[in-house]
């Protein structure tokens, strides 16, 4: 009985495809990304199709998501940030649905792969840099030099540069590590249930009754994971907004 809690994160090719020395296979990872994007698109198209004054259930769910993200952008990045609503909403929906679909039994968690989360974080940071330079020109570099006496700037500028450069790493690692740790924990506790339940065929079968305890724990942890799945999507989106607002307004208050 080989139970490896990390087995669920294995990327397996479904349709092998090798072009010019590159492995471009269609993997279970690609399949679940397609499912997530398809589900989000179908849901939003279906919910957005009925533009009634008194919304249907699906429409009010979509409106809830819209207003949630719109309020989040408005409170952090102001009016100028609302131009980036499609960008932030797309990222939020993708991360949220990936996290939720990953909680289905037997599914694959797209966001538990550092390649996916780092690509998302890189897109965010490159957008921030692009917006900053387009809006402020070379003045965007003032972001790294807050108003301070020169002897403090000697210290502050390297700190600001390092903190800016670690953003894509922390943004991607946070999401990836949370998903990885949560799903590994679920599998480890599932292993406890099976290991305790398997004592039923040993000379001391009464121990197998104890397997109900980790079973209840799994239920509790799954609830916690639902919260984490939402919270990480929220944190990812709100940090995107905060980084965008820094690029839009530099250090000025708006």
């Amino acid at each position: 009985m080989a139970m490896n809690p990390m087995e669920q994160f294995e990327v397996k090719p479904l349709v092998p495809l090798h072009i010019g020395g590159y492995d471009l296979s269609f993997t279970n990872q690609s399949l679940w990304m397609c499912i997530v994007v398809g589900a989000a698109s179908i849901f939003l198209l279906y919910a957005g199709a009925s533009r009634r004054l008194v919304p249907t259930r699906a429409q009010s769910m979509a409106e809830l998501g819209y207003e949630f993200v719109a309020n989040m952008i408005h409170s952090t990045a102001g009016d100028a940030g609302l131009k980036f609503f499609p960008f932030v909403f797309t990222i939020f929906m993708f991360v949220l649905l990936s996290n939720f679909f990953g909680l289905l039994p037997g599914s694959f968690t797209v966001t538990s792969q550092i390649a996916v989360t780092f690509a998302l974080a890189a897109v965010v940071i490159l957008t921030v840099i692009l917006v900053g330079f387009l809006r402020h020109g070379i003045g965007f570099l003032k972001l790294f030099a807050p108003k301070a006496p020169w002897y403090l700037l000697v210290l502050l500028v390297p700190i600001e540069v390092i903190s800016f450069l670690t953003r894509p790493i922390s943004l991607s690692v946070r999401l990836f590590a949370n998903m990885l740790a949560g799903h590994t924990m679920l599998k480890v506790f599932a292993g406890f249930v099976i290991a305790l339940g398997a004592t039923a065929i040993t000379p001391k079968p009464y121990w197998s009754v104890l397997s109900i305890a980790p079973m209840f724990l799994i239920v509790a942890i799954t609830t916690l994971e639902l919260l984490v799945a939402f919270l990480q999507a929220y944190v990812f989106a709100i940090l995107t907004c905060i980084y965008l607002s820094e690029a839009l307004y530099l250090h000025d208050q708006h």
Binding site: T76, S170, V173, R174, L231, I238, L239, I242
Partner: protein
């Protein structure tokens, strides 16, 4: 001690970084609650800062976890 067992011990030690993250996250939410209970009117406006503090705090601990994973899988 051979390299394989040293790797396992090193990965375990690297996870100690999560102790700091735990203390930090507890501190962030504890301070937020004590502030929010004293001045509930200002609580809603500070949720953004709350999650920002939580996220930054968690990230520092997770760097330790990443180092553990790098040790184990390289």
């Amino acid at each position: 001690m051979d390299l394989a067992s040293a790797k396992q011990i090193g990965a375990g030690l690297a996870c100690v970084a999560l102790v700091g993250a735990g203390i930090g996250i507890g501190n962030v939410f504890g301070s937020y609650l004590s502030g929010a209970l004293r001045n509930p009117g200002a609580a809603a406006s500070q949720t953004t800062n709350l999650f920002l503090g939580f996220a930054l705090c968690e990230a520092t601990g997770l760097f330790g976890l990443v180092i553990a994973l790098i040790i184990l899988f390289t």
